[in-house]
C-alpha cells in the first residue's frame, strides 16, 4: 500500500512536470499539437495570436505555481518552518510588490494581447472591402447548399462517407467523415465574401485552416471572408449542434488557380442547364423511379431511412404514410394543401422537413415523389412529371 502510494506520488509529480514541459512546447510544436497549417491571412493572424497567448499563459502558470511549489517545499511543518502571522501587505514597499503583478496583468490583457486582437477583429469583420466574389452558403439539416450568385450556380453538398463505414461494417476511408459529393470550388488568391444563412436551425460553417468559423442563422444573413493562398483541398465540419446528424455535415473546399476555377464554373453551368432541360421532356416511369431512388438515398434517407420506415417519433415513416398514399393533385391539377407534393415542395414550418423546392430541381422532385409513391410497399402506381412540378412552383 505504502509503496504503491509512493509510486502514485511520483507519477503525479512527474505528470505535473510533463504538463509544464508540454505547455511551452505547444507554442512551437508541429501542427498536430496545434492549429492546422493556416492558408488564409486570417488563419495566420489567429495562429500567431494563439501562439503568443500560449507563451504568455505558460509563463504566468510557471511563475505563479513555481512560487507556490517553492512555498510548499520550504514552508512545511515537517521541515520545522514556523508560521508567520501577516494578513496583508504592510508598508509602501510591500504594497508595490503586491500591485506589480496586476499592472503586469493589465499590460498583458490590454496591450500585449488586446492590441493585436483589436486589429485581428477589425480585419476579420471587414468582409466587403475589395471583395472579388460572393459565395452564399445555406445550412440545412444536414447538408450545405452553395450558391454562386455571379454565375447562377447553386447545388447541394452532402457527406459521401458510406453508412457502412460509420457502422463499422467497412474499413474507414482516408477522409472518413470529412468528404462530400460536391465540394465548394474557390479560386486561389481572391477575396471571397461568404454569406451565410440557414433554413432550419443554427449551423456553423467551419474550416480550421481558414481560421473562419461563422454561424448560419435561419432568417438572418451573416458574413465572413476568405482569401485562400494555396491550392489544395481543405476540410472542416459543421460546428453547432444541429440535431441528429450534426456530426455528419462536413465542409470540403477545393481551392484551385483561377483559370481552373473558371473552367469549373463553365462546366458546372452547362451541367445544371442540362438538368434543367430535363424538366421539359416527358419521362418514363422507369426513368423517374431510377432517378428517384438516387435522390431519395441522398436527400431523404437520413431522416426517413432507406426503407422509408422513418425514425419514430421524430421522423415519420413514408411506408404506408397517409400523406404519401393520398391523392397526388386536385382533379384540376392544382396543389392540395398538406398533400404529398405540397409537403415535399414546401416542407413543414417548425419541423425538420424543409421546402425542397428551394434546393432540388423539377426533375429531382418529380422523380423522388414518384419513387416514394411506388416503393416501400406503397403501390399508388401514379407518377408526376417534372413539367407539372415546374408549373406548381
Amino acid at each position: 500500500m505504502k509503496i504503491l502510494y509512493r509510486f502514485c506520488l511520483r507519477a503525479g509529480i512527474s505528470l505535473s512536470g510533463l504538463l509544464l514541459a508540454v505547455l511551452p512546447s505547444l507554442a512551437h510544436a508541429d501542427y498536430s499539437w496545434n492549429f492546422p497549417t493556416p492558408v488564409t491571412p486570417i488563419a495566420r493572424d489567429t495562429l500567431e495570436i494563439h501562439n503568443h497567448f500560449m507563451i504568455v499563459i505558460t509563463i504566468l502558470f510557471v511563475v505563479v505555481f513555481g512560487i507556490m511549489i517553492y512555498s510548499m517545499v520550504k514552508h512545511r511543518k515537517s521541515v520545522g518552518h514556523q508560521p508567520a502571522r501577516f494578513t496583508g501587505p504592510t508598508g509602501t514597499v510591500q504594497w508595490i510588490w503586491a500591485l506589480v503583478p496586476f499592472a503586469i496583468l493589465l499590460f498583458i490583457d490590454y496591450v500585449l494581447m488586446g492590441i493585436p486582437a483589436y486589429h485581428a477583429v477589425l480585419d476579420m469583420e471587414d468582409t466587403r472591402t475589395k471583395a472579388d466574389m460572393v459565395l452564399k452558403v445555406t445550412g440545412m439539416q444536414w447538408k450545405w447548399q452553395y450558391e454562386y450568385p455571379d454565375s447562377g450556380i447553386k447545388y447541394l453538398s452532402t457527406t459521401s462517407t458510406p453508412r457502412e463505414q460509420i457502422a463499422n461494417k467497412e474499413a474507414k476511408g482516408e477522409h472518413y467523415l470529412l468528404e462530400v459529393d460536391n465540394p465548394v470550388v474557390l479560386p486561389v488568391g481572391k477575396k471571397v465574401r461568404i454569406l451565410l444563412t440557414s433554413t432550419d436551425v443554427i449551423h456553423t460553417w467551419w474550416v480550421p485552416q481558414f481560421g473562419v468559423k461563422r454561424d448560419a442563422i435561419p432568417g438572418f444573413l451573416r458574413e465572413t471572408w476568405v482569401k485562400i493562398e494555396q491550392p489544395g483541398t481543405y476540410r472542416g465540419q459543421c460546428a453547432e449542434l444541429c440535431g441528429k446528424d450534426h456530426g455528419f455535415m462536413p465542409v470540403v473546399v477545393h481551392a484551385v488557380p483561377e483559370p481552373e476555377y473558371l473552367a469549373w464554373v463553365d462546366e458546372k453551368k452547362s451541367k445544371l442547364a442540362a438538368a434543367a432541360a430535363g424538366s421539359d421532356k416527358t419521362w418514363s416511369k422507369e426513368d423517374l423511379l431510377a432517378a428517384g431512388k438516387d435522390v431519395y438515398e441522398k436527400q431523404c434517407a437520413v431522416c426517413h431511412q432507406s426503407e422509408g420506415q422513418g425514425l419514430a417519433p421524430a421522423f415519420p415513416a413514408l411506408a404506408g404514410s397517409k400523406i404519401v398514399t393520398g391523392p397526388l393533385l386536385s382533379p384540376e391539377g392544382k396543389l392540395l394543401k398538406d398533400s404529398h407534393v405540397d409537403r415535399v415542395l414546401n416542407g413543414k414550418e417548425g419541423t425538420a422537413m424543409q421546402a425542397f423546392k428551394n434546393t432540388l430541381s423539377d426533375t429531382d422532385l418529380a422523380a423522388v415523389i414518384t419513387y416514394e409513391r411506388n416503393s416501400f410497399g406503397n403501390k399508388k402506381g401514379d407518377l408526376i412529371q417534372p413539367a407539372q412540378i415546374k408549373s406548381l412552383r
Binding site: P149, L195, T197, L221
Partner: protein
Amino acid sequence: MTTYSSSHPQHYFVPQPSPYPFILSGGMFLLALGFILKMNAFAAGNWIMLAATAVIAFVVYNWFGKVIGENQSGSYSEWEDKSFRFGMVWFIASEVAFFAAFFGALFYVRNISVPALAGMDPAFTLWKDFTAAWPSAGPKGPAFTPMGAWGIPALNTTILLTSGATLTWAHWGLLKNNRSQLNLGLLLTIVLGVTFLGFQAYEYYHAYTELGLTLGAGVYGATFFMLTGFHGFHVTLGAIMLMVVYGRCLQGHFTAERHFAFEGVAWYWHFVDVVWLGLFILVYWL
C-alpha cells in the same frame, strides 16, 4: 480570527417538522408532468393537472393557516419578522429579474432583430419588401392592429395607481389603529384590482376577435401578450393575497406595530403597479 466571550440569549423560532413543503413539491411535480403531457396531446395530462391543483391548494391553505396560527399565538418576535421582510424583498427582486427578461426581449426585437431583418444587404436580402417599423409582426407575420394606449390601457393605469393609493391609505389606517379605514381601504383596493382584471380580459377578447392581435401575431403579439399576461397573472395573485389579508383584518388580525403579511402584500402590490407603469410606457405608448 474569532474571539468571543459571553453568550447572548435570544430565542429564534425554528418551526416543528412540517410535511407541507414535501407535499407541495410533489404537487408541483405533478402539475409540471400533467402540463407537459397535455401539451403533447396525452389525455391523462388534464387529470394529473387537476389532481396537482388540488394538492397545491391543500398545501397552500394549510401551510398559510399554520403560519397565521403561529403568528397569532405569538411565536414570532421582531427578529423573525425581520427575516420575513428580508425574504419578501428578495423574492420581489427575483420577480423584477423575471420581468426584466421579457422587457429585455421587447427591447431586443424592437431595436435589434426587426431592424436587422429589414436592413440586410439589398442584393442578398432574405426578406424583400420588409421594412422596419414598430409595431411589427415580422416579415411573415399576420396582419393585425396594435393596441392603442389611450383607451382601456390608460384607464387601467389610473385604476392601478389609485389602488396603490387606497392601499397606502389603508396602511395609514392600520398604523393609526383606525380599523374601519383599514378595512375600507383594503376593500377598495381589491375592487380596483378586480376591475383592472375585468378590463384586461375585455381587452384581450377585443384583441383576439377584432384586431387580429394574438399570441401568433409575430413579435408584437408575443411580447404584448407575454408581458401583459404575466402582469395580469401577478395582479391576480396579488388580489387573492389582498383578499386573504382583508379576511384577516376583518377578524382583527394585525397590530399597528407588527403586520408583516399586510406589508408584504402591499410591497407586492406596489411592485405590480410599477411593472404596469413600465408596460404602459414601453408596450402601449411608445
